[in-house]
Structures are given as C-alpha cells and as structure tokens.
Subunit: 201 residues, 2 copies
DNA sequence: ATTTAGTTTAACCATTTGGTCAAATTTATA
DNA sequence: TATAAATTTGACCAAATGGTTAAACTAAAT
C-alpha cells in the first residue's frame, strides 16, 4: 500500500480504507474521507481522479491483505499438529483487530464480483502447502478422510463467522455484553482447535 | 410481512426487499425500488414516509425471518442425532435460496447495531431446546463436553460461511465455475454433518 | 531571483436523489 | 348519482454529492 507514495497520498489511503471498510462504497462520502485525512476534498480527485478509482485501490489492497494473510498461515511448512492451532490463533487475532474488512470484502464482492477476483485467482489457494499436507495425512491413514477444500473452508468458517456475526451473538447469546463476547471469542480459540482435531483425528 | 396490507404495499415491500438486500441502504435508490415495484416513486413515500422507514420495515422483517428460521430448526423436539442433520440440511437449503440476506443483515447491523437487536433478544436464543439437549447429553457422557453456545455457533459457522463467501470460494477453489461451487455446497452438507458428529461423539 | 513544476485550496457546477404537493384518478359511501 | 375519501401520478424542489477549475501556494531547478 505504500511504495514511493506521498505522505498525503498515504493519509488519503488510510482515511479512505477506514471509511470505506466501515460504510461501504454507497455509504461513503468523499467529504468524509477528506475530513478523516484532514485535507481538502479536491485533493482526493487530484490523487485518485474519482471515487470509483479510490475505492478500487482500497478494495484491491484490502482483498490482497485478507487473502494474503490466509496464504501466509496456510502455506507454511510446519507440521499440521502445530500448524492448525497456529492458523486458528493467528487468524482469530487478525480478525479481532480488523473486524470490518471481512464483511466489507464479502459485501462489495457480492455487488461487483467482477475482475477484481483475479487477485484471488492469482494467489492460487489450492497450491498452499496445507492442501498437500492434508492429502498426505489422509493417504497415510493418519487422518480421517476429508477433502482438503472442505477442511480449509471449515477452519475458515469456524474462525471467521463468529467475528462477523458479532452483533447477533452479542444480542442473542451474550446479553448484549461486549465483555462476555470478547471472553467468548477468547475461549473459542481452544475450543475450535479441539473441535477440529476431534473431527479429523 | 403481510397482514391486511394493500396489494400495492406488498409490491413495494417485495421490491424494496429485493433491492435493499442486494445493494444495502446506501446503495439503494428509491427510484429503483419504484421501478422494481412498477409504481410511482411518490407512492413509496405515501406508504412509508421515508427511505429510512421503508428500510427499517424491510430490515426488521428480514432479520426476523432469518433468526426465526434458526429458532424453528434449533427449537424442535427431535432427538439430536436426527436434528443436527436436519438443521444443516434445512438451513443450507434456505441460505442457498436466499444468498443475499445474511450479508445484508450483518452489514447493516454493523453500520447500525442499535435498537433493532431487540428482535434478536426477543427470540431468546438460549431458550432453544437445542441448548438443553446438548447440556443433557454432555452430562450423561453421551457427548464430548462442549458448551452449547459454541456448538451452536460452530454449526451456524459451518453452514452459513460457505454461502456468504461464495465469490471467494468460486474464484479461489472452483476455478470460477458456478457449477463446481454448487456441487461443493451440495456435498458439503454430508461432510459437515460428519465433521460435527466426529467432533462431538 | 526567477521560472517551472508540483501541490493545495476555495469557489463553483451539474447531477443525483430523497422528498413534497397539488392535481387527477379510482374507490367507497351516502 | 353525488360526494367524500383514498390512491396514484407528474411536476417540482432543496439538499447532498461527486467532480471541475482557476487561482494560490510551495519547493525545486535555472
């Protein structure tokens, strides 16, 4: 997101990311980004020509960060027994710190499932070492048979969903308490790891 | 959603739901709803006064439908062994037919986590028979110990996430093929049931 | 010091958009 | 049938909003 960029340009990108990820394309006002970046609205157009182009810059960057993070942790060489717990921990932490980006990505992708998916294709998820590992362990009979694609999605589901469903979980299960919710997410990590291990071993 | 409502009113609600759930509050134009409903834009205001009020009507209704559906299947008296598979099947089917509403709800809830959550509180998730059942089976040692809240979220995660992440899954794992994706969702049902049973029994 | 290129700003514009209103039309009531 | 009430429409309005432009300012190059 930063390579030889002006300080102003970076301020804009930071502000735009903040506003766009929280309010989406339709809900975002250029003026609000300008305020957030503490610059004149015209500067937004000076650097990015249009709302659409600024949005695309942010969206690509965010999608890349999100999928890149997945790649980083699923693609490591580590053994599965330590890798799966690490995946759950790392990704849970990441999501708790960035609770907006998942819904942002899914939402805008639904509205515009176009070209930008090249980013996802580019990353080539199926080539992650994780997939090979699962296949090997299943072949060796060390693990109950399961297609790596499904296990992959299962792990992501179990870690991502509780974060994006925060408002519903808080209201429905945590008596509206933010503290209880955070505690729930915290204890969840070990429970999810346990759940997965019980299911596959 | 319909009780003594004018035909026009119902047309509006139907159209509004369609547009709002796909484009969100910010991305929706009153004119588009009017077109979709094949009526004059002024009629929208005649029946619902403002965009905000029309939106709230739709949002409440959709949230109620969504959570109500959860209640319906988690609250039944059935034995867990047949109930859990039924939950997965019923909810997966429902979500495949209504792929927009989850993201819609989560997105708008994030933007406005206000009062409307009373609907969720009202439904009183924790009172579902499911929760009692889990506690009982765990007590009796029939099931590995797990808090029902976590199992509840696990089941929802595994069924909901793959539907809302469709664009990413399609691009990243299904070579962009819609057919492969549908097949994936289809075979997933049994796999998820298996996964859950392996984890808890 | 002067010029030049890059950066920033304020004022302004055109379009979009939610919303209003009075007139027209339809439906119900007397 | 005449009248009143409810429904529907088209024209219109004011505010919001993305975008433009020319001028002002800054910093580097000559």
């Amino acid at each position: 997101m930063n390579e030889q960029k002006t300080e102003t340009e970076q301020q804009i990108l930071k502000a735009a990311k903040q506003v766009f990820t929280r309010k989406g394309f339709g809900g975002t006002r250029m003026q609000e980004i300008a305020n957030e970046a503490k610059i004149n609205k015209s500067l937004l157009h000076y650097y990015f020509r249009s709302k659409q182009l600024l949005f695309e810059a942010i969206f690509k960057d965010t999608l890349f960060e999100f999928v890149g993070k997945i790649k980083l942790i699923f693609n490591s060489e580590e053994e599965l027994i330590t890798k799966i717990p690490k995946i759950v921990h790392t990704y849970s932490d990441y999501l708790q710190k960035n609770p907006y980006i998942v819904i942002f990505i899914l939402r805008e992708l639904q509205a515009e499932p176009k070209i930008i998916l090249k980013i996802v294709e580019m990353i080539n998820i199926k080539s992650f070492h994780f997939f090979e590992q699962i296949n090997q362990e299943v072949e060796k009979g060390k693990m109950k048979p399961i297609k790596p694609e499904h296990l992959f999605i299962n792990i992501l589901s179990l870690t991502i969903f509780p974060v994006i469903a925060k408002p519903i979980i808080m209201a429905g299960l945590m008596q509206g308490s933010n503290e209880l919710y955070n505690q729930f997410l915290e204890e969840r990590k070990e429970i999810v790891i346990n759940f997965i291990f019980s299911a596959i071993y």
